[in-house]
Symmetry: C2
């Protein structure tokens, strides 16, 4: 397969109401554009949810990292390019490049890891057993993604409680799970205005551990993990059941872009 | 001006992660598409925020009504048509038609009322004094919008307290105000899963009274206003200041579309 067929390129408008008070896109909406690009790219190549639903399989996002030089402002026409970097039996790695659709200016890159599961057993499914392993034809090892690999977000068990979020109707996706980008959106909503006025996000790493559901309460615990780096452990709780880890997020801040 | 130049038509994809657990678009995201269409239409005709910001004026959404037969499902290519129905000195009325971009199937309609204000004094500005009143050239009185006029949402002072919402970073737009569609999104988030499984929204009316800001607490008070109709008064509170009315919303429910 030609290399240019391996890469999908999608245009997104940075909508004005998807921008924060500094007129730059919310990280949650940027993450959503990346997930859309992944969805379109895999559907167009016959490995997306449209095909997988019919054989009782689905993709589950395992890790997502986004690293930006700058967050695009309202009305920017973004180009999100995405390609599959490697395929193993139970995981694929998918990369992203985020640039200005007209000027080519690069805003940043993304990396992600996806597992395939059986929707009935919820057990890992063998990706290479699907369509005789032909997903390998789409693997592009040549295109460079110049950011560090996505992280498992290592942290101790000593995190400090940082806040509690109840999940509601608008958090839940068609699978009945809390939408992947909502963990990040809620985390940034825990920060006061003063934090947002003095910090910009340079990189975000999300490691998904277990799905949470409508009505689960999410407790956020934080720990400083380096210069400008804070990791968060998100524990889900359902009624009187013991809390379980749902997700970990590491935020790396930089000086404000403004 | 030709009638077809008076109507703007914009295509939007119903993104999979903008759909609820029933695979239908969230009302907040549908409302956002309408506000985008209004923004694009007015900018393209020289009466949008891009022009107004330079003369220290802005549009303020005063009322929004959306009435739907059915909410579109994921991957639908929506067409949102919008046109200005009437212009008065301090207000314009703008209508919307929501249909399937390919089949033309009609999902519903919208109506809205907009005021123009001076961004320094926050006082009403004379719309007809701008560009010698040439906004009147874009008024389309022929195209039909077959839903009732947007409502002021009348209710008594006897509403029952229905819930409290703290506002956070992701609620705030570039003007520092709580985003217009967030009042609706938060309202729907007050409802438990059982309500969403047994109710669908047939119509929503929003009457904006005063802007609220990052950190304001919103208290929702509700009152039954008719068969399947509930009105909500949203009171904003900032620290120890007395509460003030921010917005009223009336929801008209129908039997589930599913």
């Amino acid at each position: 397969m030609e290399r240019h067929n391996k890469i999908g390129r999608y245009e997104f408008l940075v909508e004005p109401f998807h921008c924060d008070f500094s007129n730059r896109i919310f990280m949650g909406h940027l993450g959503n554009h990346l997930l859309n690009a992944a969805d379109f790219h895999s559907n167009e190549r016959g490995f997306g949810m449209h095909f997988l639903n019919g054989i009782r399989k689905t993709w589950v996002l395992s890790r997502l990292a986004i690293e930006v030089n700058e967050m695009p402002v309202a009305y920017t026409r973004l180009s999100v390019e995405t390609w599959v970097d490697s395929v193993m039996r139970f995981f694929t790695q998918r990369n992203f490049k985020i640039s200005d659709h007209e000027t080519g200016k690069i805003y940043g890159y993304g990396r992600s890891v996806w597992a395939m599961i059986d929707t009935e057993t919820r057990q890992p499914a063998d990706i290479l057993a699907i369509k005789e392993g032909s997903i390998a034809e789409y693997v592009d090892k040549e295109t460079i993604c110049p950011i560090a690999a996505s992280s498992r977000v290592r942290m101790s068990d000593e995190g400090q409680w940082a806040g509690k979020v109840e999940t509601h109707y608008s958090d839940v996706d068609v699978n009945g799970h809390i939408n992947s980008v909502k963990y990040v959106e809620h985390l940034l909503d825990l920060m006061p205005e003063a934090w947002h006025r003095t910090h910009c996000i340079g990189r975000i790493d999300v490691a998904y551990v277990a799905e949470s559901h409508f009505g689960d309460v999410l407790n956020y615990y934080c720990e400083t993990t380096g210069e400008g780096k804070t990791a968060y452990r998100i524990m889900k709780q359902r009624g009187e059941e013991p809390p379980l880890e749902a997700c970990r997020v590491e935020i790396t801040t930089v000086k404000p872009h403004l």
